[in-house]
């Protein structure tokens, strides 16, 4: 069987961010619809963990369509923000985990570390050297540095980590790369620990994929980011339990399940109706 996410063409969309990280394709596959050609979603998917209303700044949402978010707290924040039309379906990651159950594999080893990334328009300011020192002091086993493509494409950053003796990888670009989350899941399942210098989607994904989490190190600053979306100080106050070089696993799992909306996982048929997708037969 080939990889389920292979396939080209730009699918139809209400919002292009629905296809980030292959989200729409994962949901389409889960619903029994063509994984390479997801139908148009009747709204906008939340595409990353957030401590605000589910969407990034400057993300112009088409009003009149649903907002599909990961957790109920995001919906409540959104309502308080004056937004509406929320439906909680949980993170696409949950659906991926349903599609790709963990198979017996060699023992997990080492730590996968996600240094806080900038995004396409903001570059990161921070001392990579200081971070490397902290990781070395904390992590007992081998370390994989997973860089965002933006950093990965800059040889000088990549080399800094390679010289430190870390394995350096990237899961790919979030746009136009349906294999992103599949690769991320495979990597996370190889590692015993997931860590980052900021609490981000990757940490929650890692917890859900069976890793022990840690959040420590210089949190770095994103250049020119709107203060509303800058969680450097806010997030540690929100979840002090998840910060530190070692974190109580049971607590972390509980929080991750809530933030990823694990209990909101909808059966395929229901998810299909929630996304206002046609019945599988009508498509193929």
């Amino acid at each position: 069987m080939g990889r389920p996410w292979r396939g080209g063409g730009r699918p139809t969309c209400v919002d292009p961010t629905n296809h980030f990280y292959g989200h729409s394709r994962i949901l389409s596959r889960y619903c029994g619809l063509p994984p390479d050609d997801p139908p148009r979603i009747g709204g906008v998917l939340q595409h990353g963990w957030t401590f605000v209303h589910g969407y990034g700044i400057g993300h112009k949402l088409t009003s009149g369509y649903g907002k599909y978010v990961w957790s109920d707290v995001v919906r409540r924040r959104g309502i308080a923000h004056g937004w509406r039309d929320y439906t909680v379906i949980g993170a696409p990651w949950n659906y991926l985990l349903e599609l790709e159950p963990e198979e017996p594999a060699p023992a997990r080893e080492g730590t996968i570390f996600y240094p806080f990334h900038g995004w396409d328009r903001n570059e990161l300011l921070g001392a990579h050297d200081r971070l490397i020192a902290e990781i070395r002091a904390t992590e007992p086993g081998p370390v994989t540095m997973c860089l965002y493509w933006l950093e990965y494409d800059q040889p000088h950053i990549r080399t800094v980590y390679e010289k430190a003796g870390f394995r350096v990888i990237s899961h790919g670009r979030r746009d136009g790369d349906p294999g992103f989350l599949y690769r991320q899941l495979a990597e996370l399942r190889r590692h015993r620990r997931v860590a980052s210098n900021r609490l981000t989607s990757a940490v929650f994904y890692g917890i859900a994929a069976g890793c022990a989490p840690a959040v420590y190190g210089d949190p770095m600053l994103m250049a020119g980011v709107n203060p509303l979306y800058e969680g450097r100080d806010l997030v540690p106050r929100l979840y002090p339990e998840l910060h530190g070089p070692s974190v109580e696993l049971a607590v972390a799992r509980e929080i991750a399940a809530a933030e990823l909306g694990r209990s909101y996982l909808a059966p395929p048929e229901e998810l299909r109706l929630l996304l206002r997708w046609p019945v599988p037969a009508e498509v193929s």
């Binding site: 009003s63 009149g64 439906t87 909101y264 109706l273 929630l274």
Partner: protein, 559 residues
Amino acid sequence: MNDATNGVRLIGGEMNRWADLAAGRPAAGGPVLRDLVRRFAGPGVRVLVAGPHEPELLGGLLDSGAGVTVMVRSLPDAEELAGSTGAEVVCGALDRVRGGRFDLVVALDGVGRLRSPESAPETWARSVERLVELREDGGTLLLGAENPLGLHRLAGIADADPTTIRKWRPEGVRPSGLGELVDVLPGCGLFLAHPLPGRPAVLCSPASDLPFEAMEAAARTSAASLQTSADPAELLHDALRAGLAMELAAGWVVVVGPGAETLPPALLAADPVGTGRPVVVEVDGGIRTPCGDLDPRVHGRVARLPERLAGLLPAGRSLQRVLERACADHDLPGLRRTLRAYADWVLGLPGQVGVFATPDNVLIGDVLTGEAGFVLADPSRELTAEVAPEEALARVLRHFAIGLLAADRPLPWPPGMGAHELTRLLQVTAGRPADHPAERTGLALEAEILAAGRGLSRAEAAPLTAAVARGEVMGVERLPSHRELLALHGAVTEELRMVRSRARWAERTLAASEKKAARLEKAVAQRDRQIRHLKGSRSFRAGRLVTSPGRVLIRLARA
């Protein structure tokens, strides 16, 4: 000396150009008060009915063999009663009544319409005293009193006669509140009356252990016809939760004299399924007993079998409220759990009973144990024809969906879902397949049962049936109040906003696509020109000449 005219005895203070029965607020009556009065009547009992009461109530008294005297202030009313009933009719004001002692005095309309302009102003307490004096020793007075702070007034039920305010209206027509009532009539049998003081669907004593779900359900059956500024159901719910049902009741019924102790703590009316023959039940110590006429009520294929109401009164939380709460909280996991358990339960019922297991008629017995024990609040309705359980489920979910949309409840689902789409989603959330053939039957059943409840004939029901089939919500559910009307207006405005916004988005996307297409067309045209230009060039023609043998060979090889 009293004068008599047209069989009416005139006692003074009568109003010649006035009518209470034909105009103004409705006369006291309804199934519950009829049942109450019946309990005190019997052969040889001398009864005075003081004030306007509906003819059915008088008829019941006369049928019991009681000797009935009716006293009204309006002469036209008196003449009509004298002509249409076998009762002795007296016309005039309460303060002119001399002599005459009765075993039973019925004044369930209150004292307000017992006085005329000829009467000197007096307090409510004084009028009550006059009524009390009309009793024989050991006789009973059944008195109605409106609560000025009643929920019907707080919900702003429009006065049936909007000109009343400009008409003559005496002072002291009602007590100032529960306090005055109890002061004036201490130690008497007291019942709250709801949702209208003169036509209650519920009579309930403070000692009753009636669960408030039962009271709400009974109030709902008659509240649908009220003109209110807000649906009183919500206010009633809050009043019951706050333990203020007695203080905020629409009114009270007081039993002065013997007999109060023999009355059941609660009397409730049940929906007559469009037959106009209501069913009344009494509730005592958690046991429900249907009263009076136990014959089945049948309208079309919808039947109510009153004897099924006998037995333990089911208790529990209303499933409707539990589901509405889960919707408002966006508790989709909770909705899934509850709806699945509910659907399994409905599918286990015989279909002809299951079609009436709508969430507003279902109680959840014990939620804490995790094993939801569902029970029908009113198990007495059934369809006289065979129905598959799947079809019954399709109907109850359709009914629930329409209700949610009509009330503009906050919903956890994407915006702009119509009744068809929402019903399908509820089916799936309940763990059933989305496109079930039962869906069509469910639609037809919903229309049929709605129509029967309103007493509509098959022909009269056609517009309603069509509206249900189109998935409409407006015109299917009745809007009981101004608040609901406003809510619906809000919902329609919201839908318009959404649709406009989507149209704008589609326009923008289309414009962008057109621009892109135009650009591409232009590029293609330019390429075409270039190609034509190249093909016309000498070097191209020379090249073709040189390569022509090769092309011929390729063509031959392919053939």
